[in-house]
């Protein structure tokens, strides 16, 4: 494996994604919403919009929602008052799958630009004439898609932790975030989701001819994450540590199949035959 060539290709692809404003502007706005505005809204809104006097009890809805919390999380909510339960439920529980949008979005955007953009800009053929093997080219592009997606996700996670703990300090009176389930979510599931976004971009790149087409098609993967959000919020699925590990394992299995297909599609013969 020629790691120098792999690194050069990954750096070049990253540089090109940075130059593509269509790619990175949404990638900058969405994290801002998810890791800053959303937790602030969850934590601060109940106090801002609660009636100043009399009934109904402003925490009545909170009690209804927190009743959806599965038994695995009951211990985390044990001993908390309603305001604290709301903070933990909304920002520590419901929002968890929302952060998974970030690795998916980052890697699929970078992947679309890397695989389809290269062909769209008519630079792919020159790359295919270099001594780099199919595996080296594929790996360079995977690194350019997945690694920054993960780094940005983890940076967003740190920002999210700071925002949640700071905004909820008056209510919680302690640093309570992240809870146990977030660690496998970030370390195990986020990389699987990032790989999923990249692999989807590779597969889609073999069927479309422009970055925008690939960008829009990879966007449909959001449905997977939204399904997790809905399942989590309605109590159908609880991303406890055990469930998170299982979801991650399932995603890695899907990734393995998609990457295998992607490698086959990105081989020199296949790329040219499809071009």
């Amino acid at each position: 494996m020629n790691w120098r060539a792999v690194g050069a290709l990954a750096r070049k692809d990253l540089w090109e994604v940075r130059m593509n404003k269509v790619a990175w502007i949404p990638a900058a706005i969405v994290p801002m919403v998810i890791v800053v505005l959303l937790p602030l809204a969850f934590i601060l809104a109940p106090n801002l919009f609660a009636p100043s006097t009399g009934t109904p009890d402003p925490n009545a809805n909170v009690q209804t929602l927190t009743n959806l919390v599965p038994s695995s999380m009951v211990t985390e909510l044990h001993g908390l008052n309603d305001a604290q339960r709301w903070v933990v439920f909304s920002t520590g529980f419901v929002s968890a799958p929302m952060l998974l949008l970030l690795p998916l979005m980052f890697s699929s955007i970078a992947g679309a630009d890397s695989f389809v953009g290269e062909r769209e800009r008519k630079t792919l053929e020159a790359l295919l004439y270099t001594p780099a093997t199919d595996s080296e080219l594929f790996l360079g592009k995977v690194i350019a898609s997945v690694v920054p997606a993960l780094l940005l996700t983890w940076m967003s996670f740190v920002v999210y932790a700071v925002v949640v703990n700071a905004a909820g300090w008056n209510i919680m009176q302690r640093v309570w975030f992240p809870t146990a389930a977030w660690w496998p979510l970030m370390i195990w599931v986020a990389p699987a989701i990032a790989t999923l976004g990249m692999a989807a971009a590779v597969l889609i790149s073999s069927r479309v001819s422009t970055f925008m087409e690939a960008y829009q098609l990879t966007g449909t993967l959001v449905v997977i994450v939204l399904a997790l959000v809905v399942a989590q919020a309605t109590g159908v699925l609880s991303l406890s540590v055990g469930v998170t590990l299982l979801v991650g394992a399932a995603l890695w299995a899907v990734d393995a199949v998609l990457v295998w297909l992607g490698v086959r599609l990105f081989s020199r013969g296949a790329v040219k035959a499809l071009a």
Binding site: E125, A126, L127, L128, Y129, T130, K272
Partner: protein
Amino acid sequence: MDAIQTDALSRRYGNLTAVADVTLTVARGEVFGVLGPNGAGKTTMVRLLNGVLAPSAGSCRVLGLDPARQGSGLRRRTGVLTESPALYERMTARENLRFFGTMYGMPAGKLAARADAMLEAFGLAERADAKVGGFSKGMKQRLALARALLHEPEVLFLDEPTAALDPEAARRVTELIMEFTRQAGRTVFLCTHYLPEAQRLCDRVAVLNRGRLIATGTLAELARTLWHGTWVDVECLVASAPDLLEAVRVVAGVTDARLDGPDGTRLAVQVEGEERIPAVVRAIVERGGQVVRVNAREHTLEDVYFELQGEPAHAQPAVASETSGRGGRR
């Protein structure tokens, strides 16, 4: 050892046959032209010979290596210039060369100096740090040629290198190709449908049509297979005597002779070979003819190409049109 050998090389895309049973050899140091219209299979040949595509049937070897199985090792020793320059337009000229040099496995220390030298040699030093997107087509193609030669390949593949360029830019690129290939003794595989360029650059040519090789050889060899004899134009000071034409026709090796033009001062004589021309001139002089100009017509690559493709290159001259078969073409 030949630089390139193909044996019944074929490539199909579904039902479409892009290259069919092509067998040819290219010697080391030779500039070899592959001619043919769009869709003849030229680009597919370049891809096959660099291991970017695998053959559907047959085989090929480049520098003794099998491109399909040893492509990576082979591509370290070949350079390719495609029709579109395929450069990263948001990167500078220097960044492009350094990126591709790294991809070709050049050591970092050598790469920086070599990239600067190539930018200088190709007249791009002043724009080395400018983004390629702002370059003219000619500058981009020069940079792409510099990239193809950056790692000092033993075999250079040129796929329509001047097709998208204006005449001035095309000439500059052609001069650079000559300079950087002839001097270094590189083997060149030039695909083009720009025939004057091929005639100027190539030692031998192959003509492709719909993926099939229809002829290969030097221009003279191809002309000999297509036309028998050479037409010679003889111009005299005054109109020729009536019996002059008959005297020329009986010279050994003359196969045809006609007056060319209305004033009787010009003759067109077909001889078996150029060695017969002195005898023709002698016969004219002996009959009192005052010869002022003798010109043996040469076949151009364009003549050969269109003859092979089954189309006339252009309108035939009066004399030529009167002769039969292939011998009549200019």
